[in-house]
């Protein structure tokens, strides 16, 4: 059907009806024409968005059958192995969802898998934004919203998997109780108020339930809306490339191309989560049994997004002291569970502002950095990944010890040392690699790329022919911006100190800035020497390359 310019009669009728009331034609057209740059890495956040939608849909279904009560019942149902056992109604109704509601198990597993995928995709999306510098002005606030959402999703996940009141999740709540108790002065009060008395009590599951299905999703929904509206208003960032500047955006329009793509992406996300939920069992609570504070299974593991917290708790030394004989400070819980966790999220939240302070960069950025082109930032990101990764691995140190057949205590000691050593090594190595890649880019711009064609010179020497890079690649590579350095020196020629360099803070800033921009190079305006066909020329340029590299 070709609709031409006048379109479909019925649709026009609806359109007119709406426009007569809201005056939307012009604005809607502008928004439908909004251009979205095209790159696979720009779709990572959408996996999180779609997982969230799937969570909302499946969550509503689960509430129809779940009973968030800690009242004791004796089980008689489809899972005969637990017949006659005492359990809470929360656990019983979860068993019912799993074995007595058609599609219940599938929806439960979709809900759980979607939660895991949501957090994972948020992490990866955050790393993409970090390593490409997409958090820079004007997008710092959206970054902070993202960090808040990440925290909330973690808490939401913890509360969610605590609801079935099985042995595994109950132990998670027990640890949560222990963490609350470690808080100085108010810890015992917080614990009593949250649990409605002593652990486990009868209140915690209904309370977590209302937080899990109402308060936190509500806040998340609002933040997702804000995140998306800011993105819409500011337009998406783009990779450097031919014709791409900070003043434009090149890509496909929202309607129809992006709409169809992102729609397909929703179905892909849902489809993959469906596939996992069909064939990869997750959280089989009937195997864990109902919660009792007297028992535990060895090798208990939380969901992966809580793993790093579990890891910090495991490797922290047993520091505990008493003030004046009356008040106990449990550093071995307080520091890992609250301070380190808080520090990680704080560093994430303030990073854009700290980086802008160090570089003094107040420009708007809409063209992304290639990760190699901001060596210090990328190295710091690698540092962070290493810290997180080590903590996370350590959360499974008992499994590692068993599978690798090494002593449990050795794994703990390995992580205790590694957490100080490996991130630093990673920082240094990644920084070097980035700078090396920058130099290789410069060389490629100057002398072309290695074509793989070997030529023999009259003198008998073999050389590889270099070919000039294509216009597109040249534009992409030349998109590197030089990281701004603060004005150097204590003071200028007249003895006036450079602005912002006074005082200890100013000195620190300048020192950080120097370290940050050290060895950074410019890739713009590099002439291509020779076309790579003349052998002699080639040799000369090789010689020149040596000089260029040593000049740094």
């Amino acid at each position: 059907m070709s609709t031409g310019t006048t379109g479909n009669k019925a649709l026009n009728g609806v359109g007119n009806y709406i426009d007569d009331r809201f005056h939307v034609a012009e604005g809607l057209k502008r928004n439908l024409k909004k251009v979205f740059p095209d790159h696979w890495s720009f779709m990572l956040g959408e996996i999180a968005l779609y997982s969230f939608i799937i969570l909302l849909l499946t969550g509503v279904f689960l509430t129809l059958f779940f009973n968030p009560s800690m009242q004791d019942v004796v089980y008689h149902g489809a899972y005969s192995k637990l017949n006659g056992m005492k359990m809470s109604q929360a656990y019983e109704s979860t068993l019912k969802i799993s074995f007595d509601v058609r599609g219940g198990l599938l929806i439960r597993q979709i809900h759980h898998w979607a939660a895991v995928i949501m957090f994972a995709s948020m992490l990866v999306h955050m790393l993409r934004v970090f390593f490409t510098g997409a958090f820079r002005k004007p997008r710092e606030i959206n970054w902070v919203i993202g960090v808040v959402m990440l925290t909330l999703v973690m808490v939401e996940g913890l509360f969610g998997y605590s609801l079935p009141d099985d042995l595994l999740s109950g132990m998670g709540l027990r640890i949560f109780e222990g963490v609350l108790l470690s808080i100085p002065v108010v810890g015992t009060y917080l614990q009593m108020f949250l649990f409605g008395g002593e652990f486990p009590g009868h209140d915690i599951i209904p309370r977590l339930y209302s937080l899990h299905i109402l308060l936190i999703p509500g806040i998340l929904l609002a933040l997702v809306g804000a995140h998306f509206m800011i993105l819409w208003h500011q337009k998406h960032t783009q990779w450097p490339g031919k014709g791409r500047t900070d003043q434009n955006v090149i890509g496909g329009p929202m309607y129809p191309a992006f709409m169809a793509k992102t729609g397909a992406y929703f179905f892909f996300t849902f489809g993959v989560i469906g596939l996992l939920s069909t064939f990869a069992q997750i959280n089989p609570i009937w195997l864990y049994g109902p919660f009792t504070p007297t028992s535990i299974s060895a090798g208990s593991q939380p969901d992966f997004y809580m793993g790093f917290l579990e890891g910090v708790l495991r490797i922290f030394p047993a520091w505990e002291f008493t003030i004046a004989g009356h008040y106990t400070v449990t550093l071995s819980v307080l520091i890992p569970a609250l301070l380190i966790l808080g520090a990680i999220f704080t560093v994430l939240g303030v990073y854009p502002f700290v980086e802008a302070w160090i570089t003094g960069d107040k420009q708007e950025h809409h063209v992304l950095d290639r990760p190699r082109n901001n060596a210090t930032r990328t190295a710091f990101g690698a540092f962070g990944i290493t810290v997180y990764g080590l903590f996370w691995l350590c959360g499974s140190n008992d499994i590692l010890a068993e599978k690798l057949d090494i002593s449990l205590y050795s794994t703990t000691w390995f992580f205790r040392v590694a957490i100080f050593v490996l991130p630093v090594l990673m920082f240094i190595a990644v920084r070097r690699i980035c700078l090396g890649l920058q130099r290789r880019d410069r060389e490629m711009l100057a002398h072309g790329y290695e074509s793989g064609i070997i030529k023999r010179l009259p003198s008998g020497e073999f050389i590889e022919v270099h070919k000039p890079v294509s216009e597109e690649i040249r534009a992409h590579v030349e998109g590197k911006k030089v990281i701004p350095a603060l004005p150097g020196g204590e003071s200028d020629a007249n003895g006036v100190p450079a602005p912002g360099s006074k005082g200890p803070l100013g000195k620190l800033r300048r020192r950080l800035n120097r370290a940050y921009v050290e060895n950074d190079i410019s890739l713009s305006g590099i002439e291509s020497h020779g076309d790579g066909h003349g052998g002699h020329e080639e040799l000369e340029s090789h010689g020149e390359r040596e000089r260029e590299l040593t000049r740094d």
């Binding site: 034609a25 470690s182 955006v249 496909g252 329009p253």
Partner: protein
């Protein structure tokens, strides 16, 4: 093209593409006449013809149509995927009615049936849409200008002037008494939500310092609830979980009062002087609740007499009053003094002499 461009060109071209509403401000009343028959254009099915006709149109810059031949083939593929999705969706509904549940095995089959059909339906729609986008929809490389996000200094100045002069008019800035009492009025309201949380739980008082163990409370085996005689628990290296008689179903109390009972050869014990009579013939009782964050310290190594908490691997030496020998726990597992009653059953001498479980602020230094 810019959003602004949009307006200009839209108005200038009488034969704008795609719609008739982009006519700038003056033409808000739709020029299209609703209900009139579509012009002959709609009968022209060959899109190439249309593209040719609209070549000079600035709106279509950066839009590269796909070759019609390949698009026609792609349409068939898309249709195939969408049909597959339809069939899978129907199959899901059929599976829902045909495959029952109410037993683990049936549930497993139902899960696979429903999950597989749902997955196929979703992925088929996704695949169809991708083929549609990549082979039928044009390839887009549209350039759109960004506009500066910040306002011009004049706009900012105008806003500030408006804002401050109206603040002055309202009296908020000029009348401190009004301003301060208003903020005063708000302050308690802000506190109310916190105050209202008070009744969510009792005060801690000394609840965490005591358990239900009393002089003469019998130790019963967790699970069977049977009391246990010292003479029956006689194989060294043995370990069982015991709970106080009468509280077998009270999870709140068990969360504190659960005890590990370990049998050793008496000569293996190295207890401090004040605890030596807390055992019965090499039978020793420790709180099972880990002093780190409260997991049951349930693993026991017979040769070394080490108690290990599986959560964070705090390790306690059962021979030496559960001294911490590894891991994050800050102090030993409290020891329950036990003895036997007249019938030979194991009973508590008293409650624990210190709080069990994780440390808390008010715990203080307790001799252990």
């Amino acid at each position: 093209m810019t959003d602004d461009n949009e307006k200009n060109t839209g108005g200038a071209e009488p034969n704008g593409t795609g719609n008739g509403s982009g006519n700038g401000h003056g033409g808000r009343r739709p020029r299209r006449v609703i209900g009139t028959p579509a012009p002959a254009e709609s009968h022209r099915l060959l899109s190439q013809e249309r593209e040719h006709e609209e070549e000079p149109d600035i709106e279509r810059a950066g839009i590269h149509p796909r070759p019609e031949k390949s698009a026609r083939r792609a349409e068939k593929i898309v249709a195939l995927f969408f049909t597959l999705a339809f069939l899978a969706g129907i199959a899901f509904i059929v599976a829902y009615w045909v495959l029952g549940v109410h037993s683990p095995e049936k549930t497993r089959i139902s899960n696979i049936g429903l999950g597989a059909t749902l997955t196929i339906a979703l992925l088929a729609i996704a695949c169809g849409a991708v083929v549609w986008v990549r082979r039928i929809m044009p390839e887009y490389e549209v350039v759109q200008e960004r506009h500066p996000l910040n306002s011009t200094p004049e706009e900012k100045k105008a806003f500030a002037k408006y804002f401050y002069s109206n603040a002055d008019d309202s009296g908020f800035t000029k009348r401190p008494l009004l301003r301060r009492t208003m903020m005063l009025a708000m302050a308690p309201l802000g506190l109310l939500p916190i105050v209202l949380l008070r009744d969510t739980g009792p005060m801690p008082k000394n609840k965490l310092r005591h358990t239900v163990w009393k002089t003469g409370t019998r130790l019963v085996i967790d699970g069977t609830n049977a009391p246990i005689k010292a003479s029956e628990f006689d194989s060294p290296g043995g370990i069982i979980t015991v709970i106080p008689e009468g509280y077998e179903d009270n999870l709140d109390e068990l969360a504190k009062a659960t005890v590990l009972l370990i049998k050793m050869r008496p000569e293996e014990l190295e207890l401090p002087a004040d605890k030596q009579n807390w055992t019965v013939d090499g039978i020793i009782a420790y709180s099972k609740i880990c002093t780190h964050v409260g997991c049951p310290a349930a693993l026991y190594e017979q040769q070394t007499h080490h108690i290990l908490c599986p959560c964070h691997q705090s390790t306690f030496d059962a021979r030496k009053a559960a001294k911490v020998i590894f891991g994050p726990a800050g102090h030993p597992l409290p020891m329950l003094p036990i003895t036997t009653d007249a019938e030979g059953y194991l009973v508590a001498q008293s409650d624990f002499h210190e709080p069990v479980g994780p440390s808390f602020w008010e715990r203080g230094s307790v001799k252990s």
